[in-house]
Symmetry: C2
Subunit: 326 residues, 2 copies
């Protein structure tokens, strides 16, 4: 098959790779749409030790089952493969499974490819009227859905449902959509890139600004750098909640003194549970997350150009979806 292979720092090659194969518990999926995640960009820049070259990146995918009893079924893929037997898995927190794997990280190749093999349990059927390019958003939307759910659960019931989201990329925008679906009415997004701000304001109707001095009971850091944690620490209201999604920088930025004196809860979040993924897919399918019309589509064969454009900050849309040719 053809795949977009990460062959070294800032080097992606569209080339032949071995076909994945179905097995007793893995279906073969023909990929029809696969999104580029910030973590793919980290790997591309050589910043992720967990993703050494050569490797097929990509973990936000939807496609069609090829062969077997379910041949032709349209599915979106939960890329997190877990043991389903440990305490974490059995308590519905598969994202904490010590044996968790994710496609695009060894030993599993990713979905910037024509095909991928996945466990049956990781596949969610997509209704006929939902495009697979939209269904491929289930993964990033589930990340934000999970974070939003934890934020709302940790919020004191007497606090206003007033949220700041730091970062207007796909995770930030998706956090706004998820919070809104969960009844948070007042949402502000901050984003430094003017092009991106314009798109989210004009095309998505979001309340997006460069910076703010206001105070918010919920702050979602959808970036994860020391500077964004600094902003989160400063902008969260006393008694409020910071949900931290990104993995930009490992350390720094948290104002521990303020968190302590103002009794702030800081929640690190990683991916989603299997139930979050299914709930997010359902919310995509029934329209609760809006039209989801904020992606740029490009052929998988032009993936290297897509990464370069993202790197240059010239992409207004918060998400690029790559479309393999078959």
């Amino acid at each position: 098959m053809k795949a977009l292979v990460y062959d070294g720092v800032e080097t992606l090659t569209y080339r032949d790779m071995p076909d994945p194969v179905a097995s007793s518990d893995h279906e073969l999926i023909r990929i029809e749409a696969v999104g580029i995640c910030g973590s793919d960009m980290h790997a591309y820049l050589g910043h992720d030790d967990r993703r050494p070259a050569p490797l097929i990146l990509g973990h936000e995918a939807a496609g069609i089952i090829v062969g077997g009893a379910q041949d032709g079924k349209r599915v979106t893929i939960n890329p997190l493969v877990t043991c389903n037997s440990c305490t974490a898995c059995r308590s519905g927190r598969e994202n904490l499974c010590a044996k968790r794997q994710i496609i695009s990280m060894p030993p599993r190749e990713g979905a910037f490819a024509q095909f991928v093999a996945m466990p049956v349990a990781n596949l969610v059927e997509v209704p006929a009227d939902v495009p697979l390019s939209k269904a491929a958003l289930a993964e990033p939307l589930a990340v934000s859905w999970h974070g939003a759910r934890l934020a709302v659960a940790a919020l004191h019931p007497d606090d206003p449902r007033r949220a700041l989201i730091i970062g207007g990329g796909a995770i930030g925008l998706a956090a706004a959509l998820a919070l809104r679906a969960m009844g948070v009415g007042e949402i502000t997004i901050t984003e430094p890139n003017a092009k991106r701000r314009g798109f989210l304001r004009d095309h998505c109707g979001e309340n997006i600004v460069e910076t703010t001095d206001a105070s918010f009971s919920i702050v979602i850091d959808a970036v994860g750098y020391a500077t964004t944690r600094e902003a989160a620490s400063a902008r969260v209201a006393p008694g409020g909640v910071i949900v931290h999604i990104g993995l930009g920088e490992d350390r720094g930025g948290i104002d521990v003194r303020r968190l302590t004196l103002q009794e702030i809860t800081f929640i690190g979040t990683y991916t989603y549970t299997a139930q979050d993924f299914r709930d997010t897919a359902a919310a995509i399918f029934d329209g609760r997350l809006g039209p989801l019309d904020w992606c740029r589509h490009m052929p998988l064969g032009e993936g290297a150009d897509a990464f370069a454009a993202l790197r240059q900050g010239t992409v207004a849309e918060p998400k690029i979806i790559l479309i393999p040719e078959h």
Copy 2:
């Protein structure tokens, strides 16, 4: 009256100060027992900008009402004075009141003195059979009770009730007592001071070690330095909770990457609510927090020696209670 006055860095003077006065909403209390807190030590070392010299420190006090309708009533003092009308106060989170004051911080003098004036609402009556030197522990015990309550509330219901407490001072020991009263059966305390470790092991029966490599669903940082947050970040189990009580250092030590990838909740906590204070006092009075026989008693007039001994690390007991002479 006589008071132990913080007159400058590492300088405490037992000298005359103006008598506080009762008013329409303040009772005059004759102090019978007042504990030394880690925050008093910070102030004494000149590390707390909120407590400039000259100032009477001390906020862990119990005594007897003098004058008025309640003359002679034995009380323990909630030192946190709040507005009782803002959103935080009305939602039972008085510790988040933006107008909160605490005795020992301007404009309120502290309780290392023969007398203090306090709002009636801050006084909790002490039963006749409970010594006031024990009732004076309500404040530090309430700090830990509050932190323990938040930890247990944030713990996932499927997680084991297994706690690590970093720091074997009064707050750490009190956190062990509070967690135990709340049904947490397995508790380990880490403490670097061998003298303190010996006392907590031999006299209090605690499971106390210098360090540990084990993993805990609850970690309470009862110290608040970068190194203790580093330890908390490393020792908390995936999906677990860190409760941060101390104000040792303002920044550093949090392993944000691990908190994110392992979905850790970090809760900053400050003091206690009015209900926590009353609940803690009730738990002291009915014996749920144990014999509370781990304090060294010294005359208030020897307060300077007490601070010097604490500074030198030669005090095995986790708390010194100063007893004013009358």
